[in-house]
C-alpha cells in the first residue's frame, strides 16, 4: 500500500481491521480519479502501466497536470512519483525501527501526529461552501456516534453521508 492517507487510516482504526481496511480503500478512490486525468498524458501500456499505477499519488498527479506541455508533465509524474516512493518508504522504515526506542510514545505527543497529518491533507480541498458543509457534518456525525459503535464505524458512516450528498446534488 503506497498511499499515505490510507496508511494512516488503517493504522488509526487498528482495533477494527475490517473497518480500517474499508476506510483505507475508500480514501484510495481518489487515486482512480487521478488516473483518469493522467491516462491521456502518460500513454503507458503493459509493465510500464503497472509501474505507473503504483506511483499515482497526490504529489505526482499535481506535478504532472501542473506543467504546460505533455513532455514536462510526464517528467514531472515519473520524477515526483519515484522520489516520493523512495523517500516515503525509507522514512517509514526508519520510523518502524525507531519506534522501539521510544518508551512511551505519548510523552512525545506521537498520538497528535495523525490528526495533524490529516488536517494538512484536508486543507487544500477546502475551497467553497460545499466542502466545509460536508466536513463539518462528517466530523459531527463521527463524534456523535463514536461512544455507541465499534471503532472505525463512525468513519464509514461519515463516508456514506458523503456518497449520499454526492448522489443528491448537481454540479
Amino acid at each position: 500500500m503506497f498511499t499515505g492517507a490510507s496508511q494512516f487510516a488503517l493504522v488509526s482504526v487498528a482495533d477494527n481491521p475490517a473497518a480500517g481496511a474499508a476506510s483505507a480503500i475508500i480514501l484510495g478512490t481518489r487515486n482512480a480519479m487521478y488516473g483518469l486525468r493522467l491516462t491521456p498524458l502518460l500513454r503507458v501500456r503493459g509493465i510500464r502501466k503497472a509501474a505507473a499505477a503504483q506511483l499515482v499519488l497526490d504529489e505526482s498527479t499535481a506535478m504532472a497536470i501542473g506543467q504546460s506541455t505533455d513532455d514536462d508533465g510526464r517528467v514531472g509524474f515519473w520524477t515526483t512519483g519515484i522520489a516520493v516512493f523512495v523517500f516515503w518508504n525509507l522514512a517509514t522504515l526508519v520510523g518502524a525501527l525507531g519506534a522501539d526506542a521510544l518508551s512511551n510514545p505519548e510523552d512525545f505527543g506521537l498520538d497528535a501526529a495523525a490528526p495533524a497529518a490529516f488536517i494538512a491533507l484536508l486543507a487544500p480541498r477546502m475551497r467553497g461552501r460545499e466542502p466545509w458543509a460536508v466536513a463539518v457534518a462528517a466530523g459531527a456525525v463521527a463524534l456523535m456516534v463514536t461512544p455507541f459503535v465499534p471503532a472505525g464505524v463512525p468513519i464509514l458512516l461519515a463516508a456514506l453521508g458523503a456518497v449520499a450528498a454526492g448522489l443528491r446534488g448537481r454540479s
Binding site: T3, G28, R30, M33, F118, A142
Partner: protein, 99 residues
C-alpha cells in the same frame, strides 16, 4: 491484522490501476466525480474529529486538542507538512508535561 493490511493494499493498488484503465466516460459521470471529491473530505474530517476529541471511544478533551489547534494554525500559515506535524506533536507533549 495482516489480512486487513494485505486486502487494503491490493484494493488501493487496484484502484490506481483502474483509474489508468477504465474508459473515461464511466468515471467522468458527474455524480461519480462529485462523490470522488467529497469522499476524501468526509473521511479526513471524520478522522480528525475522532482522533482529536475521543480517547478510548469516549469524548474527551485531551492535550491532543491543543496539538490539533496548533496544526490548524500551522496549515493556515502555510507551514510545510513536516513542520505542521512536529508542531502538533511538540505542543501536545508540552501540554502533557505541564498539566
Amino acid at each position: 491484522m495482516w489480512a486487513a493490511i494485505l486486502g487494503a493494499s491490493l484494493g488501493c493498488y487496484a484502484l490506481k490501476l483502474a483509474g489508468l484503465s477504465v474508459p473515461a466516460r464511466v468515471l467522468a459521470d458527474t455524480r461519480v466525480e462529485r462523490i470522488g471529491n467529497l469522499l476524501p473530505i468526509a473521511l479526513l474530517s471524520a478522522f480528525i474529529a475522532v482522533q482529536t476529541f475521543t480517547v478510548d471511544d469516549q469524548l474527551e478533551l485531551s492535550a491532543r486538542v491543543v496539538g490539533a489547534g496548533v496544526a490548524v494554525f500551522a496549515v493556515w500559515r502555510r507551514a510545510p507538512f513536516l513542520v505542521v506535524i512536529l508542531a502538533a506533536m511538540g505542543t501536545t507533549a508540552l501540554v502533557r508535561a505541564i498539566v
